[in-house]
Subunit: 343 residues, 4 copies
């Protein structure tokens, strides 16, 4: 049993972490913090946790986080970078579900996130937590940067193509669609039910924070070649789920189905579907699975990859638990052997 703390438990990634950790047999949840709600039982805010999670929110000061084995930050951007150093110094391993440690290039991070970075040295040390790429480094990570939701779906979809060098890197397109929970639990007009239901829109076409994160990942996969990527996110009237539709131009003639199946053979959370498949987001709902199908429409030179995840699980809390499992030597599926909820 390891001792686990959660900083910032009032958002969707927080409550989702609790849903998963509550049933993890190797975990003892010791503290969940919220400045604003200290003293309130967590299940009062999230009745779905009644009878399953008995904790009350505590202030960060009362949380005794330095006695944990691992602390998850389910906080807004810019929090973990200020608190991680002290925890790491105390021997606590840190998993950040926000963006603080995802971008190597500090100037680039500061441009996209609009603040100065408080811990550049930890960025240098941090491991990017995409297990399908970085599993070995994750085992020993002290600071783990859990990937963003879009970046997870998009990178997993492009991974076999880019690693194998079979697509032109200059003009990749990622057209991605997210459920509304991806926008978080903040009260905002544009994510009200009466605004977001029964409608569909793109946003951030001019530039979205996940673009540099995805590009950085693709560049690494490509052995540091430059990558031209157009990334367009869309808001979809559903609660959970990301569907990434990826387009590339083939530079080599390969057996795409075999390429994908070989690359992900043995991966516990990537399911390459049979040729001709169209994965639905609900086929992974509430689970840590990523399902992928690869198409070559009418035998032309364009490859189309369909990649679906649950944005709150493989795109956030579930991948964080998967990373924790790797870091602490648990079976990678521990706490994550969930059958998706469908319908």
């Amino acid at each position: 049993m390891i001792k686990v703390g959660v900083v910032g438990g009032t958002g969707y990634t927080g409550v989702e972490l609790l849903r998963l950790l509550a049933r993890h047999p190797g975990v003892q949840l010791t503290a969940i913090t919220s400045r604003g709600e200290a003293g309130m039982p967590v299940a009062d805010m999230f009745p779905s946790l009644r009878r399953r999670v008995d904790l009350k929110f505590v202030t960060p000061q009362d949380a005794a986080l330095e006695q944990c084995d691992v602390v998850f930050f389910a906080t807004p951007n810019g929090i973990a970078m200020k608190q991680a150093a002290e925890l790491v110094a105390a021997g606590v391993r840190v998993i950040d579900l926000a963006a603080d440690f995802r971008i190597r290039d500090i100037a680039e991070w500061e441009k996209w996130y609009g603040m100065s970075h408080a811990a550049p040295d930890l960025v240098a040390e941090a491991v990017y937590g995409l297990p399908e790429v970085n599993r070995d480094k994750i085992r020993t990570a002290r600071v783990l940067a859990n990937p963003g939701c879009y970046p997870t779906a998009v990178q997993l979809g492009f991974l076999p193509l880019v690693e194998a060098g079979v697509v032109e890197l200059s003009s990749l397109v990622a057209d991605a669609k997210s459920g509304v929970s991806g926008a978080g639990r903040k009260a905002e007009v544009h994510t009200l039910f009466a605004e977001a239901a029964d409608s569909f829109k793109a946003y951030g076409v001019g530039g979205h924070r996940h673009l540099p994160e995805i590009r950085q990942g693709l560049v690494r996969m490509a052995g540091d070649q430059a990558v031209g990527l157009t990334f367009v996110p869309h808001l979809t009237p559903m609660i959970r789920g990301i569907h990434a539709t990826l387009y590339g131009r083939l530079s080599k003639d390969v057996d795409l189905q075999a390429l994908f199946e070989t690359r992900f053979a043995g991966e516990p959370f990537v399911d390459v579907m049979p040729a001709g498949s169209h994965p639905e987001t609900r086929s992974v709902r509430a689970s840590n699975m990523c399902r992928i199908a690869v198409h070559r429409p009418q035998g032309g030179d364009t490859v189309v990859v369909l990649s679906v995840i649950d944005n709150l699980v493989k795109g956030a809390a579930g991948q964080a638990v998967q990373n924790m499992n790797i870091m602490f030597g648990f079976d990678e599926m521990q706490g994550l052997d969930i059958v998706p909820v469908s319908p």
Copy 2:
């Protein structure tokens, strides 16, 4: 490990049974039947089951159901009544998720279901599987009539009031709202997305098949007094969930909150919420929990009970597994210790 068969696995209660049984440690799924889809892997029809359920559909003849310990019927009404006798004779216990064994009065059943009953003797023997009322009889049942979805939510909500004799029995009202999955996986115009989304309607106001089932249950709770019940079901634009809003006139002045908490103390799947609560259906999504709140608006003589379940779990497959657990001596929460999925 008990051997379990499922007859009729292509509907929503079937796939939900598979979701739950796939993770039940005491169960070996041996067969799932479908005449139409025999030979097809179950996960080809339900991709959410990929990597979790490896079975193919088989014909009833090939299923060797008589070698099972228990067989679930997730079939339309009128199937189980024809096949149960043979299985029971072979020592197999039967759990019917349809309505064949729910109504004691054969003539009443035939009136509402529009066919003659093929096994009246099994009706006489069958146990109505509402554990909160019938737990002891369930243990030894050979034929188990799993309650309907509306009847589960409505009976649990009225139970403490009717048993304690504190409401006028002549004019109970149950205004119930169901998600669309309650209508099943049949292709019909009125449950198409473009028909049922962003709209709300009542149906069956003149008489719904669950009315006699609920009334029978209330009559028993009332010690065989007559019960006057108005039951109005509604179709709600959501996938899962039933919300029953129940109205009664108080005939005695009691502490309603204490009455409910006492009645359901120790029940693993009934959660009496604090006074003043308004349970949401999502707070039980994908779980076997029933959450109940009791109100007495402005201290008047009307009691209002709010009762929510997931229609596919506590209202169908989950309650069936709960009954199986009781019948076979498993821990009642085995396979059902699910944290609801919210958001």
Copy 3:
């Protein structure tokens, strides 16, 4: 052509008023106010109005409202009561879509709305704008209290029964379900898409502000007899629409269908559906129609009325335009001859 001003145009009733008034041939929209957004073209906030409404928001000071023939208040509660007197003195007729002038009993109003009333004399003079009850008084009203959304659906459904004295007044039940737009365009957590979608809940069971408004209306219809009403509102995962399911105990044996058809004969916006009907909210979507069906389940002594409206039209902006039409001698359907949008 009459000159029309709108105070408070950034909420849903405001934009809906603009949708309707933009096509009204007898109306010249002269000003729409918003303190916060003054100077912004209305269509920048509501792109659906591009090319249809050319106005910019102005401050109340710049609006020259005293030169209007009529001013609509689409403001939060408590605004119109402070500004109406001055306008009325200037000869401007006022239609308040909020609750300021709906409740005769000032003390009752102050209890439910939590503030002191600024214009009790105008309350005494104000006409309650339910045309099916008050058409004659509406013609000459200087201050028009536009009914609430729930009160419109509930009162129209009970109207024939209560006026005719055929139900017991002591135990009426109104179980009402609203789309989420009824909660307005304020940024709040509980009406976020990820909170309100795919879920259903009751709220305000202990007491909702529309209860005294409905009760007042029923008491008047009943010739000042006391009325016992239980009112339970629910939040439904749809954008628009109210479905009221009404329950009463019959005290006389009458032909209910004929009673309803006779009462509403000639009403342009009340459609009594054939016996046995179940109106859907989408059958009135975007229109000013109220559709009603009356049932007597299994010939018992309980009457069930189903009443549906679009909460933003007949429940707010449409009824306000209907009232304006009556007040200014337009054809009552002017600007409101809309075919509902379905699917």
Copy 4:
């Protein structure tokens, strides 16, 4: 007043035609046919039309279609091609909302639609009814091929780029998302609410019937140059709306905003939004408008166009009425001056 008949009135394009035609001042609806429902009042099937459309369905034989000025076919593919010749011979003008006359190349049509064509000569004569491209030819058309829903959104979005020759034609990408009403009113499992809600998927990636239609249109715009197009449609959990996200590689440096504004200047139903905009499908809900925004992310060489329509209006019935207006000399906005319904 022209006499108008509708063949096939029981689907979504049929009921939408009725919604629009019912309020068109220049139109007398004389017949609406349905073999299966002959004799039934149209408003019994579509209660939204109660009090607005008084017709009953009639058999095609009883419809006296040859006395109409124009007949709309709102039928499945393959019907109009069998019946149009006789009507045209009788001097009736035909507007087909299905695909029978859309594709010039008969062999291509037969390949994609899986049947032999019954009227190749009418295909040769037919005018493709995209007013923004073909307005002059439409005026005199005897047979009008109303464009498909996806083809309308995609062609309008690409039009300025392709006509002006500023994008590489070899690798255009159209990633399109449709509401579920696009699949029609047929009872099918995959469009049930419980299947399509709260989920998102691509379909037809290997080849969709709208691909050759779009490609044919782009080739014409390009002056008969070859066009390489990848088209991926997706099913979105909303009732109405298409959002096309279009990608192309710029071959010239142009002022994209000016290019679009100039090309569509004066178009009554194309709204080029300000630079940086993200049109939502709800901003055109229930209206005939197409809203378009053009982006050049981060100043690179990729152009991204966002194009939204209501699939049942500009994508079907509304465009058909627009074409009728042009054919018969009505004001092009007659019957179509609708303010979109939002929220």
